[in-house]
Amino acid sequence: MVPVLLLLIPLFSGLALFAVKNENSVKTLALLSSIVTLVVALYGMTCANGSEYLIVNKEWLPALNSRFHMEVDGMGKVLTLLTALSFPIVFAATSGNRYEDSNRFYALMLLTQAGLMGVFMAMDALLFYFFWELALIPVYFLCSHWGGERRIQVTFKFFVYTFVGSLLMLTALIYLYFHAGQSFDIKAFYNIKLTSSKDALMFWLMFVAFAIKMPLVPFHTWQPDTYEQSPTAVTMILSGVMVKMGVFGVIRWVAPVLPISFYQYGDTITWMAIIGMIYASLVAMQQDDLKRLVAYSSIAHIGLMVVALFATTKSGMQGVMIQMFNHGINIIGMWIVVNAIEQKFGTRKMSQLGGIAQKAPGLAILLVIVALANIALPLTNAFVGEFMMFNGVFASTVTRFNVVFTVSAALTIILAAVYTLKMLQKVLFGEANAVTAQATDISFSVKASLVIIVGAILLFGVYPKPMLGVTSELVDVLLNKMTLTMGK
C-alpha cells in the first residue's frame, strides 16, 4: 500500500497541476501534496521491515517476466523519507520565488518526486530502469526552461551524460536478465554467476551509470555547471536527493549482484574517489560563487560515501545509508541559505557579500549550524554518519590500504572546514557593504524550513537510533550475500 501511495500521490497531483492556472493555488496544492506524501512516508517508517504494507508485487509485463514489484526496505525507508521530507521543505523555502508558468514548474517537480520514489522502491530491474529515466526527464525540462543564462547547453550536457550512463546500464541489465533465467527480479539477480571477465564488464557498465549520477571524478564535469544554472529549487532536489540515486544504485544493484568485481575493483574505485575528494575540496576553496562552492563540496562528500561503501563493512555501509539522508538534509539547508541570499541581494558572489550577521541574525545562526553540519562537527547528524564511515573504512578487511584510505579521506574533512569557515567569514562577518547594507532578516517560510532542517540535524546528531535501527537488518543481509558468493 505504502509504495503505491508514495508513487501515485506525487504522480497524480503533478499531472493535475498542469490544469491549475492560479499561481497561489498551484503553490498551495504542491505543498499540500508533498506534505501528504511525507505523512505516508513517515507511516512507512513505523511499519516493520518486510511488512505487507510495504510491498507491492503485481503483474506488469508477463511476456518479459517483469513484475511491478516495489518494496520499501530499510534503505528504501531512509531514502523515501528523504525524498518525502525534502520536497515540502524546498517548496516552503522557495515559496517566495516567482516562476513563469508556475503550474508547469510545480507539476514537473512533483513528477520528479514520483520518479525518485520509484527508483528507491523498485525491486525489479526493468522497473528500476524505467523510473531511473523518468526521474531525469522532468528535471531536464525544469532546468532547461527555468534555469540561468547558459541553461540549455548545460542541461543538455547533464542529460547526455546521464543518458549515456543509463543506456550502458540498460545493456548490462538485459545481459544479466538472460543470465538470471529471464527474470528481472532482484532475488533472481542475486543468483547470477558469470565468468570473471563478463562479471567485470557488467560491473563497469553499471558502475559508470551510477558514477556519473553521483558524480564521481572524472565523471563529474556536468555537475557544477548544472547546479549553478538550474533554478535553486531544482538544484536542491538534484543535490539533496537525486545524486543519492547513484550511491543507492551501487548498494542495491551492484554490490550484491556482482560482488566479485565489487571486491576486485574496490581499491581502484576508492583511489578514484579519494583523488576526486581532494581535488573537489581544493577546487571548492577557490570558488567565489556560492552555488559552485556547495556543488564541489557535494562531490567531496559523495566521494567519502563511495570510499566507505567499498570498504564493505557493516559500520561503513550503515554509515553510507545514514549519511545519504543526512547529506541530503544538510545540503538542502545550504541551498536554502544560498537561495535566500540570492533573492535578497541579487548576487551569489562571496566577494560582493559580507556583514550579513549584524543585519540578519536569524539567517546567520541557522547558516552557521548548517555549515557546521557540513563539516561534520559532533552533535550534528553528519558526525554520526561520517564517524561510522571512517570507522568502517579503518576496520575494512577487504583492502590492504585501509589506514591510507582513512587518513587521506580524513584530510578532506580539514579541507571542508577550510572552505566552509572561509565562506561563513566572507558572507556573514566583516563590514557590511553597499549590497548588504539594506539587509533584513529572512522571511517566515524560509526561517521555518531552515528551523526544520536544523531540528533534524540536531535530532539525528544526538539520537541516530531510528536510522540505525531500520538499516541494520538490510546491511546484514547484503553483507551476508556478498560473503556467501565470495566463499563459493
Binding site: 509485463l61 508477463p62 511476456a63 530502469y129 524505467f130 529515466e133 523518468l134 526527464i137 525540462f141 532547461s144 526552461h145 541553461r151 540549455i152 543538455f156 542529460f159 547526455v160 543518458f163 549515456v164 543506456l167 550502458l168 540498460l170 545493456t171 538485459i174 545481459y175 536478465y177 538472460f178 564488464l201 557498465l205
Partner: protein, 462 residues
Amino acid sequence: MNAIIISAILGVVMMYSGVLTKNTSAIRNVAIVGLIVLLGLNMAEGCGYQLFHINTKGMMSFEKYGLLFNSIAFASTLIYFLLSGRDIEKVGVYVAEYFALIFFILCGVAIVTSFNSLLLLFIGIEIISIPLYILTGADKRNLKSNEASLKYFLMGSFSTGIMLMGITLIFGATGSFMLKGIAPLVTGAADAPLNIWLVSGLLLLFISMAFKVSAAPFHFWTPDVYDGAPSVFTSFMATIVKAAIFVAFLRLFDGAYGEMKGAWQSIISITILLTLFIGNITAVFQQSVKRMLAYSSIAQAGFMLFALFGFNEFAKEGIILYSAAYSLATIGIFAILIKMKDYTFEGFNGLGKSQPVLAATNTIFLLSLAGIPLTAGFFAKYYMLAAAIKNGTQFWLVIFAVLCAAVSVYYYFRVIQSMYFKTGNAETSTITPAFKYVLIVLAGIVILLGVFPQLLLSQMYF
C-alpha cells in the same frame, strides 16, 4: 488474402472516384472508409474469416505474424490519412490518384508480409516501389521533387536488377523459388563447402534489400529522396513502407537462411555498424528538420537491423513493436512538420507557446524516437537490444548501438529545445481542432504501448 485483394480493389475504386467527383474531401472520405474496411477485413482474417479461397500453391502463407503487421500498417495509414489527408490534397490536382497509389502500395505491403516464394517477394517489392516513384515526383512543378523522383527511380531500378540477379543465382543453385525449398540446401551447406552461387545470390539479395531499407552503405538515395519528395509522401515512405520491407527482410532470411547465421552475421554486423554511425552522425549536422528525419530514419533502420542479427523470438516480436513505435511517432512528427511554414530547426522556435498541443505531442513523439521509457520507442529499442544480447556474440556492437542512441538524443532534443526553450515566432498554417484530437490520440497510443507493450505483442499469439 483479404488484404491483398481488397486493397487492390480499393485502389481501382479510388481511381474511378476521381472520375466521378472533383470534390477532394469526398475522395478523402472514400479513402478513409475504404481503409477502415480494409483494416477490419484484415483483422477478420486473423480470426479465421477468409473472404477468398485461392490456391496459391504454397507461394504465399498467411500467418498471424504477417497479418498483425498488416493491421499495424493499415492502422498507421489510417492515422496518417486522418492527420495528413488534407495535405495530400494540397500536393497537386490528381488527388484520387494519390490515394489510389497509396492503396496499391498497401497491396504490395500485404504481399511482402506473406510471400513464400522469391518471385512473389520480387512482385511485392515492385508493387511497392513503382507507385512510390510516382508519389515522389507528385509535385510536378518543383524541380527538387522531379530530381528526387528520377534519382529514386534510377537507383531503385538498379537495386531491382540486383535483386533479380540474386534470385536467378539462387534458383540456379537450388532449382527452386520457394523459401522452404531453399532451406534444406542451406542447412546442408553448413558443413559442406558453401555453394558459391547460392552465397552470391544471397549476398545480392541482401544488398538489394539493404538498399530498400536504406541501410548503409546503400543509403545514399535516402536523404535526397526524402527531402525532395512532398513531405506528406515522405512521411508515408519513411514509415509504413520501410517497416514492411523490414518484415519481408526478416521473413526472407528467417525462412531461407536461418541456418546460415554464422556466414552472414559478420556482414550484418558491419552493416549495422555503418548504418548507425552514418545515420546518427550525419543527422547531427542537419539544419532542416525534414532532412534530419531522413537521416534519423537511416539511424532507426540500423536499430531495426538488430532483428536480423539476433534472430530469436525477441527479434520477431521486436520488429513488430519497432514498426509500430517508429511509424506512429514519425507520422506524428511529419504531420506537425507539414504544418510548419519553416522546416529548419529555427522554424520551431517558440512553438511551445503558440501551439502547446502540437509542441507537447511532438515532444512525446521525439522522446519515443529517442527511446525514452514510458514511450513505445523504449520497448522497441529494448527488444532489439535484447535480441542482440540473447544472441550472445558481439556484445561490443550492442554497446556501440547504445552510444549511437545517445548521439541521437542530440538531434531529437534540438527540436524540443527549439519548441520550448527558445523564443521565436513559429508560424504554422491553420490547425483544425480535429487535427489536434488525432494527435492527442496518437500520443496516447505511443504512451500506452510504452507501458503495456503486450497489448500489441499478445496479438501475435491469440
